[in-house]
Amino acid sequence: MTWIISILNIFTNPLFYKITLTAATPFIFAALGGVFSEITGVVNIALEGIMLLGAFVSIVFTYLTGSPWIGVLMAMISGLGMAWLHAWASIKWYGNQIVSGTALILLAQGLTGFLMEPIFGKPGQTDFIGRIKDIKIPFVKNIPFVGEIIGELNPLVFIAIGLVFFSWWFLYKTTMGLRMRAVGENPEAADTLGINVYKIRYFGVLMSGILASLGGAFLSVGELGQFKELMTGGRGFIALAAMILGNWNPIGAFWACLLFGAAEAMNNQLQSSPILQISASTKPLFNMLPFIVTIIVVSGFIGRTRAPAADGVPYIKD
């Protein structure tokens, strides 16, 4: 009974939804990045690395310029750079996309760790450098329940949600989107219609770099105001899973990210519930919740998802 009450308590607490949103935001950025890349047929397992570098670069430039927004901008440029490397290897040189992706993860981990000392004078983690202020939405803030969820949030959360709809619109309503989907499904067919497969793939991969780096920037200048080595903690991989769970569709990926964020928030709320009498020693097990929920959802409700047919296959023209 206390279980039911405390779970009900969680669902009626607006802050649960707010925590869900902020927990989901880094996944949303990165999963959208994954969608952009893979919908054109390039597997991007490097999301984790791109996020990490984005987190780092945004802090570095916030530190240097004092403006976290400049940090975000530079993070996007760093994401572009990483993505360009990935595109270059996998499109131009027909490289194995998974290998290139893992290489970039290592590279990002190495670079960010290595550059800590020269830039901040100490390894490991930075002090609090500063972060983007939350924004208050004047009227919304006063709406009872809703106001507590979205009345005051980090602007990057809104940007993430905006980007979900933008991505959907872009991929399904514009000519570029149509071409991207065609290239990911049947590059040869697109080629016979005079579409430059390589250009489209470059575009998709570069976009994925920009988007994923925002996920990293959200973690550092958005949420914490500091950088810590390896602070992305595997979120890029979870985003990858969310993208698949969402069937390579921005909206689907968004739901998958929200599901994951909600499960994570649920984990935290259950651990923090004042009425549930759970011994401290079993609480660590609650951390498995998001992962178990995902497995149940993917195998129980979603089942077979369908990757773009040419996903991961280099397009070789002789």
Binding site: L85, V99, A103, L107, I295
Partner: protein, 354 residues
């Protein structure tokens, strides 16, 4: 035919070797930038990896699990599944090898050792089979499920050593396994020990090679990996082979975990895998998914890692090695940069001859 095989092997070696050279060149610029001498750094690295028998043993000790996780991922690729979960399978293998090993005190080594090894492999296989089973049964994408299983095993493992299995007051660790379940030390130099783990790993590479190339099981697994429709048409069960492939892949990763316990830590630690499962991805691909190639790829990464620790004495941070490793793997991915130059000439010649 013989000539062709030779050529293929040669180019398979040329690419990684060239990649290492290029990566070292790029990294030396970075080293120069922080005001250190790259030559000294690399000398230290080489010395650190192969300079003394102790260093050499260290390199081998590091290479051992990498061979196995590389095999695990590579075997999955051959079967058409992307097992991104070697990390979790290795951890679960280690955990259960530990639990078995802890309780085998009453048995002589020739019973305790095989049982401990088998428990690790079995658990790794079971853990991976969850993903295999879900894929075969419901179509759940193995990339999702294995990533999720990695996290679950992480939490489970750390929970076990912090809670139910924990011993001692300082360390989050399980009790030691029984002496009879430890691998015998064949070479010992101070506290650096070499166990027959490496031979088990190499043996497994050969077993996997034989399995894939010489048996009907391997034939079926490859057929399913290449073309499940044709396999089904040929009377081969897709579901059975997907589960089997995941299980074998997981067993290899589990073995990696078991050997780490039996030959190195003698107990389970939450942090024991430290990314070796993920390393398996690049190792298997550097080794072209070929069991023998994987041995060399693992050696490459293993020696870079050992070398890097020594390099710190020359004042080079440990991160430089991740950068080098990243560049090496990147260049292996984009191997055509090297290959195009080689094959362009060949192609041209062949075209003219005809």
């Amino acid at each position: 035919m013989k000539k062709r095989i030779m050529k293929i092997n040669l180019s398979a070696f040329i690419v990684p070797v060239m990649s290492v050279i290029i990566a070292l060149l790029i990294a030396s610029v970075v080293i120069l930038l922080i005001g250190k001498n790259p030559l000294i750094a690399y000398y230290e690295m080489l010395k650190g990896a192969f300079g003394s028998s102790q260093d050499f043993i260290n390199t081998i000790v590091k290479t051992t699990p990498l061979i196995l996780t590389g095999l695990a991922v590579g075997f999955g690729f051959r079967a058409g599944v992307f097992n991104i979960g070697a990390e979790g399978q290795m951890s679960m293998g280690a955990l259960f090898a530990t639990i078995a090993g802890m309780n085998l005190g009453g048995f002589p080594p020739y019973i305790a050792i095989p049982i401990t090894i088998l428990s690790g492999m079995l658990m790794g296989a079971l853990w991976a089979s969850i993903a295999g089973f879900l894929k075969a049964r419901t179509g759940a994408h193995e990339v999702i499920t294995t990533i999720m299983l990695n996290w679950i095993s992480y939490y489970l493992g750390n929970y076990m050593v912090a809670g139910p299995l924990s011993v001692g007051s300082g360390t989050p660790k399980s009790p030691e396994i029984a002496a009879s379940a430890k691998l015998p030390v064949i070479i010992k130099s101070q506290s650096i020990e070499l166990t027959p783990g490496i031979f088990i790993a190499i043996l497994m590479a050969i077993v996997i090679y034989v399995l894939l190339e010489k048996t009907s099981t391997g034939y079926e697994i490859k057929a399913v990996g290449f073309n499940p429709y044709a396999a089904e048409y040929g009377g081969i069960s897709i579901a059975k082979n997907v589960v089997l492939a995941m299980a074998i892949s997981g067993a290899l990763a589990g073995l990696a975990g078991a050997l780490e316990v039996m030959g190195l830590h003698y107990r389970y630690l939450g942090t024991l895998t430290s990314g070796k499962g993920f390393d398996g991805i690049s190792i298997s691909l550097i080794g072209q998914n070929h069991p023998i190639g994987i041995i060399f790829a693992a050696l490459l990464i293993g020696s870079l890692r050992t070398g890097s620790n020594a390099m710190q004495f020359a004042g080079i941070p440990k991160h430089i090695v991740m950068i080098i490793q990243g560049i090496v793997i990147f260049l292996v991915a984009a191997d055509r940069i090297v290959k195009t130059i080689l094959t362009y000439r060949k192609k041209h010649k062949a075209g003219v001859e005809k």
